[in-house]
Symmetry: C2
Subunit: 531 residues, 2 copies
């Protein structure tokens, strides 16, 4: 038996205080990767939380330049060790080394860290607001206590709890991170945390600014997110586990940002099908089957209107699903859940068009799967037919007419994204104007004529949406600087003496590049001298 991997607590890689252990599998071979990881005890978690709380206080005395330097050095170190990191991520996730891990996800990860560094240095994410007449000034400042990050299984690098989007946002905003590794890629997470620790030392940040544990039982997990000394939690993962954590955090009044599940409805209007069915069929199939469909923004439900073009379109995509190679899934859990969800959709009245069974690829896999259901049937049990089938599967819903299409839009739950395809000559315009306002309020991001996979790290991105896609419709997990404000508190200073104000709120703009709202106008200038 391999030696138990250590945990990273308060700057030290040390033997875990564990209550058990687990061995991740290589999903391509279904064989253990050879590493064994601890399940941390409550005692260990308490130590981690206390060390993070001390780091949280120490970080108050350290300027944002040091945090920016850390994030940049960390990015550089990930690149320097890229072969090993990408290799282990491949072993643990079965995601292809090229292009996915090496050429797409690793650059996204380091790019994100550097964007977060720039945001920390620039500081405008804090929305400094100055009311000169009332003598009140405010900005967003770090939370008290560490931020807990639970990363998902499907991005071993870009959403990794020790290097991904939530991590970068929390650190850039001035918080220490308690990384809870995803159990499907703990080794990758360890490598990243090793580089993080080295970069912390180089940048002069408290060593407990990044800590790592691998797994806890449910009860200890609930303690973690609700502990009085914890600032907030970012969680991306399954709805069930997320809701268990949410309940504990809510009860303690601790912010928890969840990204739970999403079926990302795609509405293809009749004119678009008449105009370019083959093109859309290709886009849809690529989007749905890329990385075996294991994206939060995978198009899991497609809404079509009854008609000959729709039947032809369905024929096209069935063909493509049949012909496309079957990808390897992230693990046995994903394989099992996908089978379970597909069966449940069938039970609720969906008809299998292609696929539907385990296998077809290397290791953990499931046939490329399409299901179909009529609009009326969908409306009879909308909740059952909206369960996420995470992976290379999608449900086609065929509406009788425009009224039913509207009813289907109204029956949708909250989602990360919603997409409308319309023709270029305007024949779909009236229906767009009818459906888009309804869809708009169900989703965080609305797209025209473009599949939702691919989440740009843009200041205007919303990777969020109404419940149950997330826990609050006002926050995004992707997109800098908005994602930073999740891990911050609003601080107002009333009649506070100039010498007691933070630099961001001094009369003089501390850098000349900090955007501040002074008496209602945004400016990079100073507070005007009193006349």
């Amino acid at each position: 038996m391999a030696q138990l991997q250590p945990v990273l607590v308060d700057g030290q890689w040390r033997p875990a205080k564990n209550t058990g252990a687990f061995s991740p599998l290589n999903p391509a071979t279904r064989q253990p990767t050879g590493e064994v990881f601890p399940i941390s005890s409550r005692e260990e978690v308490e130590e981690v939380i206390e060390a993070a709380a001390r780091a949280s206080e120490a970080l108050l005395g350290i300027d944002s330049e040091a945090r920016a330097r850390f994030l940049e050095r960390f990015a550089g170190r990930i690149e320097a060790r890229r072969t090993e990191i990408v290799g282990l991520a491949h072993t643990e996730s079965a995601l292809p080394v090229k292009p996915r891990l090496d050429e797409v996800e690793l650059p996204r990860t380091t790019g994100q860290l550097r964007q977060a560094a720039a945001a920390a240095r620039q500081g405008s994410w804090t929305l400094p607001t100055i009311d000169t007449k009332a003598g009140i000034r405010s900005f967003f400042a770090p939370l008290e206590g560490g931020v807990v990050v639970f990363g998902p299984n499907n991005f071993p690098l870009a959403f990794n709890s020790a290097a991904g989007g939530d991590f970068a946002a929390a650190i850039a905003a001035g918080n220490p991170v308690i990384a809870k590794a995803n159990s499907s890629h703990p080794g990758t997470t360890r490598l990243l945390a090793e580089e993080a620790l080295a970069a912390l030392k180089e940048a002069g940040l408290p060593a407990a600014t990044v800590q790592l544990i691998y797994r806890t039982d449910h009860q200890v997990g609930q303690r973690l997110v609700s502990h009085p000394l914890v600032g907030a939690t970012g969680y991306t993962g399954s709805r069930h586990a997320g809701l268990v954590l949410k309940e504990a955090a809510d009860r303690a009044g601790k912010p928890i940002y969840l990204e739970l599940s999403s079926i990302n409805p795609v509405l293809i209007l009749p004119g678009a099908l008449r105009e370019r069915a083959a093109e859309i069929a290709a886009e849809f199939s690529t989007s749905c089957l890329l990385a075996a469909g294991q994206f939060c923004t995978n198009p899991g439900v497609v809404l079509l209107l009854k008609g000959a073009e729709t039947e032809a379109f369905i024929g096209l995509i069935v063909e493509k699903f049949r012909a496309a190679a079957v990808g390897t899934l992230l693990g046995e859990g994903v394989e099992h859940n996908l089978g379970h969800s597909v069966a449940a959709l069938q039970q609720a009245g969906a008809e299998l068009l292609v696929g539907g069974a385990v296998g077809g690829g290397t290791g953990c896999s499931f046939q490329n799967t399409l299901l179909r259901v009529e609009g009326r049937r969908f409306l009879a049990t909308p909740e059952q037919l909206q369960q996420e089938a995470f992976g290379n599967a999608s449900l086609l819903v065929v509406a009788d007419d425009e009224d039913q299409a509207e009813a289907l839009c109204r029956a949708l739950e909250g989602n990360l994204t919603g997409t409308l395809y319309t023709d270029r000559t305007g024949s779909d315009e009236a229906l767009y104007r009818r459906l888009a306002p309804i869809l708009r309020r169900k989703v965080g991001r609305l797209l025209d004529d473009k599949m939702p996979t691919g989440v740009a790290i843009s200041p205007a991105m919303n990777h969020g949406g109404p419940y149950p896609a997330t826990g609050h419709p006002g926050f995004t997990a992707v997109g800098i600087p908005a994602s930073l404000r999740r891990f911050a508190m609003l601080q107002s200073f009333d009649n506070v003496r100039p010498a007691h104000l933070p630099p961001e709120l001094h009369d003089q703009n501390p850098t000349g590049q900090l955007w501040r709202c002074i008496d209602g106008a945004w400016t990079e200038g100073n507070v005007p001298a009193k006349t």
Copy 2:
């Protein structure tokens, strides 16, 4: 028996579908005001929610100018009916007509409505963000479904559920409001809702944009805040009732913004006492006894360091508390709870310096009360000694030394405000630098040398703070435009055709006065033409 007052549902004043009734008392006489109000049934609440959801959708098609016009006309109508409104508010609350209700609170209320109108018209609260390279644009938009507002007892006008801060913010952001009157001033709320309905008609808004019910049982209240068709809830009131609602809303994934309770610690450092004890004693007594101390930001706990100056200071304020007239409380509930809280503080080890018994004023009243506890004792049971004694009472905590003062700061729960008094010559500076960073993270608003009562409606205000003062440390209930963003969702538009974008996100700035962040820079200009 007086006739049951009607409810306002979907634009109609109609007889309630009620399960019971209640009769408010005049707290100055302990006699019924003569009006009787219904307790709404679940059926009624469902109708209200459905009408609000329809109004929420109808509001999408109505521009912000109409909302601004409504808020301004409503303000004008309140002023036109001020004598009657202020008169009934006085009868129901016993707050003085002058200066409080007529000269302070009513102008605050109408000023707030007009500020909200200006924010709706200007639109910069939506934080429009444009990324020209990625083709993604975002802004904050209204929620789907109505916003439920529970107003507190202590501001019958300025925080009234049918006219106050949450109401103004929700409407300005584009949401209909379901007002749940505070049971202590239902008549005042009815008068305000009458004017709101008239103003809605004048402005051409859907009649269900403002609805009013008076009371529900707990179960129906929980249904109200967790209903799938409700957008969010704003609640100001007691911690117990607030947490019951929070649990229901959280479970349904519905945002709920709570303002629960706060003891607003005031730290008076030794140099300040040496320099100006009499001045501070006067400020403190006025702040604590104004309106019988019935403010969310009442200074409920004062931290002092052991010494002769402190003893002299305590002597001064005891004298003032003894000498000051005892105000009338808002009702029998407040009177009862204040007695209960003072007794509980004594039970936890606090010593009574003055007051402590029911009576001393006209009608519902409680003697001006000061308690004292030593720092060590406070640290032994910090939770019991931090319960809010809402009203004209305060607890003085005397620390042995600076280390103990720091420990006391660390033991504080989340509060709306925290205050530090220091001397002007710098002798308190080192201790300020030690304590302020700790206090800063416990409170939404930090003050220097100024009592926390008086919450300016400033863009830089934070009337919020960490749990248990509120449910989330990132939001403020007072201050425009930030308070609007509570009642909004983030909407991102990815590759959306220009003709499908909302005006706020067009290339051309719709008014030339809308602040937008375009490619990282804030501007009132247009998106630059592509070169």
